[in-house]
Symmetry: D2
Subunit: 287 residues, 4 copies
C-alpha cells in the first residue's frame, strides 16, 4: 500500500493515541470474494478495516486462525491464497489493522458479550459498537447504545460507537468516554448520502473526539461532503463492495476523502446569491 501523504498543514488522524495515514475506513461485508476485497482494500489506501465478529466466529471456533462460520464453507477447499478461507487472511495480507464490530446485536447485553468475544478473537480492545434498533432500517438504538458504550468503556475498551446523527446523543457518547463518534450519513446500505448535513455539521462543531461518518455513503461526492462538513474520517462498506467495479470505487473513495479533507482545510469561498466575476474589467481595453 502506497503511503498517503498529508496535505499541507494537515495532521494525521489520531484515534485513542493511534495514528492513521488514511482517513478512510473500510467495511468488509458484501464483497464477492476475498481476492476482490483484497484489491479494494489496497486501492482504497485504508489502514483499518472493520469485521463483524459474527462473520468470523467466536474465539472458541479457532485453533490458530479464525474460521468462517458460513455453512458449507468448511466443505469447500479454501483457495490457496487464503489458506484458512477467512477474511482475516485477507486483512493480514493487506497489512491493515482490524476493527472488530458488533453488527447483528440488538441489545446492550448482546453487544457487550459480542465485544468481549471479539477482544479475545482479534486480540484488540478496539470495538466498533453497533446496537441495532430495527431490522428494516438497521438504525442504532440510542438507549441500548449508550448503555453498552458505558459498560464497555468501564471494561477498558476503546469504543467507537455507530450512532444516529443526533448531536445530543453524540455528545453523550463522548461524555461516556468513547474514543470517537460515528454518526451515520443515512441508513446502512441505502447509499442515500448525507441526509442531514446540518446535524453532521453540528456534531463536528461540538465534538472533542474524532467524528467518523459511518453508513449511508453511496458515491464519491457523498464522502467528500462528509469530510467538508468537518468529519475526521469516513467509514463505508457496500458503496465499495457492491459497486459494479469495487476496486475502482475504492480508489474513487480514497480520492474523495482526500479531496473533502483538503477542501475543508483550504477554506472554501462563501456562497453568494449573485454572481461575482473572477476578473473585473474596469479600466481594461474596450474591445
Amino acid at each position: 500500500m502506497e503511503p498517503q501523504t498529508l496535505s499541507r498543514g494537515d495532521t494525521a488522524l489520531t484515534i485513542a493515541g493511534r495514528t492513521f495515514g488514511s482517513r478512510l475506513i473500510l467495511g468488509t461485508g458484501g464483497a464477492a470474494n476475498h481476492a476482490q476485497l483484497a484489491a479494494a482494500i489496497t486501492a482504497s489506501g485504508t489502514e483499518l478495516v472493520t469485521v463483524a465478529l459474527r462473520r468470523v466466529g467466536p474465539p472458541s471456533a479457532h485453533s490458530e486462525a479464525p474460521q468462517p462460520l458460513t455453512p458449507g464453507a468448511a466443505d469447500a477447499a479454501p483457495p490457496r491464497r487464503y489458506p484458512t478461507g477467512s477474511i482475516l487472511d485477507v486483512i493480514e495480507e493487506c497489512g491493515v489493522g482490524v476493527l472488530p464490530n458488533t453488527a447483528g446485536c440488538f441489545t446492550a447485553e448482546q453487544a457487550v458479550r459480542t465485544a468481549r468475544l471479539a477482544r479475545e478473537a482479534f486480540g484488540t480492545d478496539w470495538i466498533k459498537l453497533e446496537v441495532i434498533g430495527d431490522e428494516d432500517t438497521l438504525l442504532p438504538d440510542p438507549v441500548e447504545l449508550l448503555d453498552a458504550a458505558e459498560t464497555l468503556v468501564r471494561d477498558g475498551f476503546t469504543v467507537l460507537p455507530y450512532t444516529s446523527d443526533d448531536p445530543v446523543l453524540a455528545r453523550r457518547l463522548e461524555d461516556a468516554g468513547c474514543a470517537a463518534v460515528m454518526p451515520l450519513a443515512a441508513p446502512i446500505g441505502t447509499g442515500l448520502g448525507v441526509r442531514n448535513p446540518h446535524n453532521l455539521a453540528l456534531i463536528c462543531e461540538h465534538a472533542n473526539v474524532p467524528v467518523i461518518c459511518d453508513a449511508g455513503i453511496g458515491t464519491a461526492s457523498d464522502a467528500a461532503l462528509a469530510m467538508e462538513l468537518g468529519c475526521s474520517a469516513v467509514l463505508l462498506a457496500t458503496a465499495v463492495t457492491r459497486a459494479a467495479d469495487p476496486v475502482l470505487m475504492a480508489a474513487a473513495m480514497r480520492d474523495a476523502v482526500n479531496a473533502g479533507r483538503a477542501a475543508r482545510l483550504a477554506g472554501r469561498i462563501p456562497k453568494r446569491h449573485l454572481a461575482k466575476a473572477s476578473s473585473t474589467f474596469e479600466g481594461m481595453a474596450d474591445l
Copy 2:
C-alpha cells in the same frame, strides 16, 4: 507537473481531437499573484487554463509577449520570475495549454470580435465563448450565444461555449458544431454548486460532444458530483483562486474530479429506501 494516470477502463478526455491527461480546467481570474497562480495550476494537475483576452489585452498591445492592461501595472517593476508581468508567463512556465475566453462580452458581435483578436494574440483557434446577458448574474444570453457560436464555427474556430444548463440550448450548440458544451453548475463566482443536477444529467445523457461543467463550483464535493452526473470535465476559477489556501484547494479539486470520474465509471450502488446489511447473519452462530 506529475502526469495523471487513467483509471482502469477509462479513456482520456478528448476535445476536437486533442487529448488531455487531466479532466480539470482552471480559470486564472481572481488569483492574488502570479506565484500563487503558478503553484495552484501545478497542484491542480490541469493541462489547460483559460484566460480572458480582456485581461491580457489585444495583440496590438504586444511587442513580443502580451502586456497586462491593469492600470498602474506598468509602473510597478515586474517580479523577476515573470519578466513581462503577464499571466502568459505563468502559463508558459507551468507548461499548460491556454484557452482564451471572451469574458466581458455582452453581444454576439462583441464576442466574435474578441474571439478573432484572441486568435491572433494567443495563436490558437480554440475559444471559450462567453456572451453574458446580465451584469448581476453573469448568466449567458442564449440567443446571442448561439448566434456567436454559429459565426465562429463557420470561421473555423474550435468553439467551447459557456452556456446555461438548458438541455435544448446545449443540443443546439452541439448541432451548430461546437466542440464541447460547457453548462454552468450555478452563476459565476457564487460557489453554489450544482443547482440543477437533473438538467446536467439530461445534458450528459444526450450529448455527443464532451460536457464540461463550467462556473458555480464552490468546493470539492461539487466537482465530484458534476463528474458523477456524467460530465467529461470541470472548469473552475474562483473556487480555487479565492479559497483561503488556493494551492491546497487546487489539489482538492484535482482529487475530486478524479474521484467523481472513477465513481461514475465504477457503477455506484442504487439508492434504497430501507437498509440493506453488508453481511447477512443467517446461519451464523448466535452469540
Copy 3:
C-alpha cells in the same frame, strides 16, 4: 365557484390589465373524463384554464362549437351533460376563462400559425406560447420561443410564454413585450417540483411582469414553494388531472397556492444555524 378572498394587504393577480381572483391556472390535459375535469376545475378555485388548440381542433373543424379531434370520438354518443363532447363545454359550464396554448409545436413558424388559428377558434388574443425543443423532455426551445414571441407581440397577441428557468431568457421575453413569463419548475409531467429555486428567485426579483410557474409541479408543497419564491401564480395540469383523486388534489393546490402567497407576504423568519427558543426563561421560577 366560491370567490377567493384576498389576504390582508394583497392585491389581485393582474395580467395585461385583466384581474384574477385566483392565482392558480389549470391545464386540462390528462383528465379521465369531462365530469371529473369539471369537478377539479371547480375545486381548484381557478378562473383560467389552458387548452391545447390541437386537442380542440382548428376553427374550420367547427360548425358552432369546436369538435374533438380524437379518433373515434365522433362515433361515440357524447354524454348528455356535454352536448358537443368538447372540453369547451366543460369550461363554459365552469364559468372560467380559457387560455389557448400552442402545445405540440416545435418551431416558431408552427407556433405562430397555431396561435392565429387559436385566436379564431377561441375568440381571444391571449396565447400561452409553447415551442418545444425536444420530445423527450418537452423543454422549450429558447431561440424559437423568443422568435415566436416577438412575432406574436407584433401581431397584437397577449403572449404568455412557457420558458425554461433561465433568468436571461425570461428578461428577454419580457423585453419583447410578453405579458407574463412562465418559467418551469421541472420538465412537463415529471412532478419533480422546483428543480432550481435559485433561478426562480432570480427571475422573480428582476421581472416587471407576472411570473407564473408552469410545469413540473408534483404536489402541494411544490406549489407553495413556487409562490414563496416570489411567483405571482402557478400553472399545473397533470399534478391534478393524473392524481389518484384529481378533485381532492385540486383543492390541495388551491390551498397550497394561497398558503405560499400568504407566507411570502407575511415575511418568514430568517433561517438560523442554531436554535432560538420561542420563550426565554431568564428570571422565571426555577421549578
Copy 4:
C-alpha cells in the same frame, strides 16, 4: 373560529381519544403581545395551543387564574382585555384547548416534576414533554426523554414527546405508551424546514400513533411537506409568532397544513426523469 371541514374521505385527527378539527397546533412563545397572539390563534384555525408551565408559573402562584412570572409584569397595569395579564386569558378567549409543555427542562427529573405541576396548574393530564439536551441546539436528550416518558405514562399522563427524527427513538416512545410522537423538522426556532424527509417518512410509515411534526418549520411549504410525508399534524410557534405579519402567516400555515394533508390523501403523481405530455397529439390534425 370557523370550523374546519374535512377533505373528502379524510378522518379527523384523534389523539388519545380526543378529536380535533384542525391539524395545526400552535405554540404561544415569541408573540409580541396578547392581542396579536389571539388574532394569530384565530387565523390559524387551531384547536390546541401549547404553553410552557415556566411562562405561566406553578399552581402555588395562582389565586384563581395563573399569574405571569415575568419580572415587572405585576407592576404594569394589565390591559383591560386580558384581566390577569396571563396568556391563559388569551387561550380562554379563543376557545381553544391548552397543552402544557415542559420547555426549559434538561433532565427527566425536572421534566417529570414540571409535568406534575402543570397538571395541577392547567387541570389536564396532557403534557407535551420536552427534555432538552443542549442549550445551543435545544435538541431533545433521547435517554432522559424516554425515561421521563416512561415515568409520566405510569403516572397516568397523556404524553406527547418532542423528539429527534430518529425512527428507533420514535418507536421506543410509542412502545412506552406515548399518545403521539412529535419529531422535529429542524432545531427549535431555526426555520430550516424538514432537514431529513427520509427519517420523517420512516417514522410515519411505522408509527401506530399520530406523528406530529414539531419544531423547525419556517414557512408554509415546510408545513405542507411535513404533511405530505405522512405526518398527522404540525406544531409550530416562532414561524408564526415571529413572522413579520403573524396573523397572515397563521392563515398561511392553516392553508398549508390542509393542502399537505389533502395532497397526501389525493395520491400524487409519481416523479419521472423524462417528460410526459398532458395531452398526446397522435391522430390529431397537423396544423
